[in-house]
């Protein structure tokens, strides 16, 4: 029955059900990823933020939640500004390249 409106789907994340294999793998290859304090410096400097909503802070958050990251990565130019501003010294470029490398569509 069409009421002319619909309910938005629940945005709750059940951490018991999501697939965290990609995040676990990245924890091995880029251990720095655990140091992120979500300060957002990377988001503030990102060149691709305007084009695809790229933000390393959000990337890490989405990885931890098993959410999709493919879209935001689609405009990353690997310019390295996020690496340079990161107060925790995370090698974000390696993180991005490793996500691009180990990403698999099947997991979502």
């Amino acid at each position: 029955m069409d009421f002319g409106f619909s309910l938005s789907p629940s945005s709750a994340i059940d951490l018991d059900k999501v697939d965290l294999s990609l995040y676990r793998r990245l924890e091995q290859t880029v251990p720095d990823i655990r140091n992120c304090i979500a300060c957002g410096s990377c988001s503030a400097t990102c060149m691709a933020a305007d084009y695809s909503g790229m933000s390393v802070r959000k990337l890490i958050l989405n990885l931890q939640r098993g959410a999709d990251v493919k879209k935001m990565l689609s405009c990353c130019m690997l310019c390295g500004k996020c690496t340079m501003v990161c107060p925790r010294g995370i090698n974000t470029r390696k993180l991005i390249l490793d996500v691009c490398r180990y990403y698999s569509d099947e997991k979502v």
């Binding site: 689609s74 405009c75 130019m77 310019c79």
Partner: protein, 602 residues
């Protein structure tokens, strides 16, 4: 001279013949393989260059200067140069003179491969060979030269610092076999020749040794074939062993370099990580280890095995795990290429190794829409990502251009597309090409005739990888220096003393050394760093490295700062926003970009 052995053959030449036959066959097949792997137009270019007189002459000269005399090693360290050229040139002369002897005395034996090598066994001296005496003198002279060279090589194993090298390569097992057989060849030749010197004659080296042996062992002992033949056997066997292991050791660089030089002179470049020209570069590496001391990463002992010499070794072994590790770690500063005596392009080799990787997510910028810059003047300024991160440089650029009254447009003031160099260095060529295409459109649409850059990384990219006909690509140090020369830019000299740091991409990358110094020199005093220009040390902040972490880079930056501040400057000047921010992190004195220095003195 007359022939002593009528048949002109003795079984002891067999090990040598097997060795040389194997090595020649191997090299011929390898050369054909490399040629076959090269793209068709490269092959054509190469063959054309061989029949072009000027290039052919240059090839000969380069081969002579690099393979035999080792000119670049002489420049690095006299003793190191002497050691290498005495062995290489001496050996070459012995082979050449051996052929000359055969040609002069027994010309009908020129068709025998081994005759010039074992000449002294097969001939007996007559009393009418004055010319022979002169040749014998030369033979002994060059043999002595080689023996001195080998003596030095043995000393170098123990005290490499005497040769200007702090660290040297660890030889692999086969390298060691090659090394010891090479060391043995010439002493054994001397021994064999001196055993038979009373028959075949000799000069100041062979003769006295012959007398000495006679005094100790008696002349009958020396003349007995049962005693002198084993020495010739030993000489032949060692030669054979050396040649059989040669293709699998670093000594493969001897034949490979002779092919690399003509190919490089023909204008060929690396096109594939493991095929064609790249293979030549890998096999041309003599494993000398000059790149180890030069590498900025080697301040940390853990990174020593990631220098170019080890990359070449691992590529030869096909060790994929190590190749990936080594390729990803490098800062791509290009210093190994600068100091390399055969010119192995470490950074380019690594970029192509990176390009082999497959990614599941591939960025695509087709949908990115950037408004073309509103054209004001003929000068288009592209700050780039790194300038965006060091706003003081951008402000100084604006200020200087404003004070000079130059009409310009700042293309990426409110963000834009990266020049593509970091992506290119990561080996993702299609993505980099996409960015190049987007930026080219924007720049062409602006109608500008000058593209001004304040970042050497962008400058290198726009200069080498963009096709911008009619548009001049210029770095701000060159642009301001030009304005200063033409009298538009008038600087007042402050009494501050700066140390100038040559950024990798501007110096080694684009060969811009003079303009920044001239510009800085008219605004302040300059002192030079301990290692400068082509040998300047990377700041450690390079985007070239994919895997080096923040903490690992600190030691490199501190080492580079130490090198810069040797002369005790008041401040550091550089011409790269990335170097500026990297140095500023650890420097105890101010670090400024040249644009800022110019702005202060204007």
């Amino acid at each position: 001279m007359r022939e002593r052995i009528p048949s002109g053959f003795d079984p002891f030449v067999l090990p040598f013949l097997i060795g040389i036959g194997f090595v020649l066959l191997y090299c011929a097949l390898a050369a054909m393989r490399v040629l076959w792997q090269c793209p068709r137009e490269d092959r054509r270019r190469f063959f054309l260059s061989l029949i072009t007189p000027t290039t052919a002459l240059r090839n000969l000269w380069d081969i002579f200067a690099n393979c035999l005399i080792h000119v670049k090693l002489w420049r690095r360290n006299k003793l190191l140069g002497f050691m290498h050229s005495s062995i290489a040139f001496g050996w070459f002369m012995i082979i050449l003179l051996g052929h000359l002897e055969v040609f002069l005395f027994v010309p009908h034996r020129l068709n025998l491969f081994y005759y010039p090598i074992f000449f002294n066994y097969f001939v007996a001296e007559t009393d009418t060979s004055l010319r022979g005496a002169f040749l014998f003198f030369l033979m002994d002279f060059f043999l002595l030269l080689i023996l001195i060279g080998i003596g030095l090589a043995i000393v170098k194993r123990v005290r490499s610092r005497l040769f200007g090298m702090r660290r040297t390569t660890r030889p692999s097992f086969l390298d060691t076999v090659g090394l010891y057989s090479l060391w043995l060849i010439f002493p054994l030749r001397l021994l064999a020749e001196s055993f038979t010197a009373s028959i075949s004659g000799g000069s100041f080296l062979v003769k006295p040794l012959n007398w000495l042996l006679e005094a100790v062992l008696g002349s009958q002992f020396l003349l007995n074939p049962a005693n002198n033949l084993p020495t010739w056997w030993a000489y032949s066997i060692v030669l054979g062993v050396f040649m059989v292991v040669l293709p699998f050791t670093r000594y493969m660089h001897i034949p490979t370099e002779m092919m690399l030089i003509p190919m490089r002179n023909a204008g060929l470049r690396i096109r594939h990580a493991r095929r064609g020209y790249a293979l030549l570069e890998v096999y041309s590496c003599p494993g000398c280890g000059v790149c180890i001391d030069a590498c900025p990463m080697s301040v940390k002992k853990a990174n020593i095995k990631d220098c170019t010499v080890y990359l070449n070794r691992q590529i030869r072994r096909g060790n994929e795990r190590r190749i990936e590790e080594i390729s990803d770690k490098c800062l791509l500063c290009g210093k190994c290429t600068e100091v390399c005596q055969v010119g192995v392009e470490g950074p380019a080799l690594r970029i192509f190794q990176r390009a082999r990787r497959q990614y599941a997510v591939n960025p695509d910028y087709a949908a990115v829409n950037v408004a073309p810059p509103e054209s004001v003047g003929k000068v288009l300024y592209f700050g780039g990502c790194m300038t965006a991160l060091t706003p003081s440089i951008g402000r100084s650029m604006e200020s200087v251009l404003g004070k000079l009254g130059i009409d310009y447009t700042w293309m990426d003031r409110d963000g834009g597309i990266c020049c593509g160099r970091p992506m290119l260095q990561a080996g993702r060529f299609p993505q980099a090409a996409e960015m190049v295409r987007k930026n080219t459109e924007l720049i062409k649409a602006s109608g500008a005739d000058t593209l001004l850059l304040s970042c050497p990384i962008c400058y290198k990219m726009f200069r080498d990888h963009y096709k911008l006909p009619g548009i001049r690509v210029v770095h701000h140090t060159q642009y301001f220096e030009e304005l200063r020369r033409s009298g538009v830019l008038k600087l007042s000299k402050s009494d501050l003393c700066y140390a100038y740091h040559d950024p990798c991409e501007l110096g080694r990358g684009c060969g811009v050394y003079e303009e920044p110094r001239a510009l800085l020199g008219s605004a302040a005093y300059i002192v030079e760093a301990e290692k400068n220009r082509g040998e300047s040390i990377c700041c450690g902040g390079s985007l070239g490295s994919l895997s080096l972490g923040f903490q690992q880079r600190e030691a490199m930056t501190r080492r580079a700062l130490e090198n810069l501040t040797v002369a005790g400057p008041d401040a550091i000047a550089t011409a790269c926003p990335l170097c500026r921010s990297t140095f500023a992190r650890y420097s105890s004195i101010p670090v400024r970009d040249i644009a800022e220095v110019v702005d202060l003195s204007l």
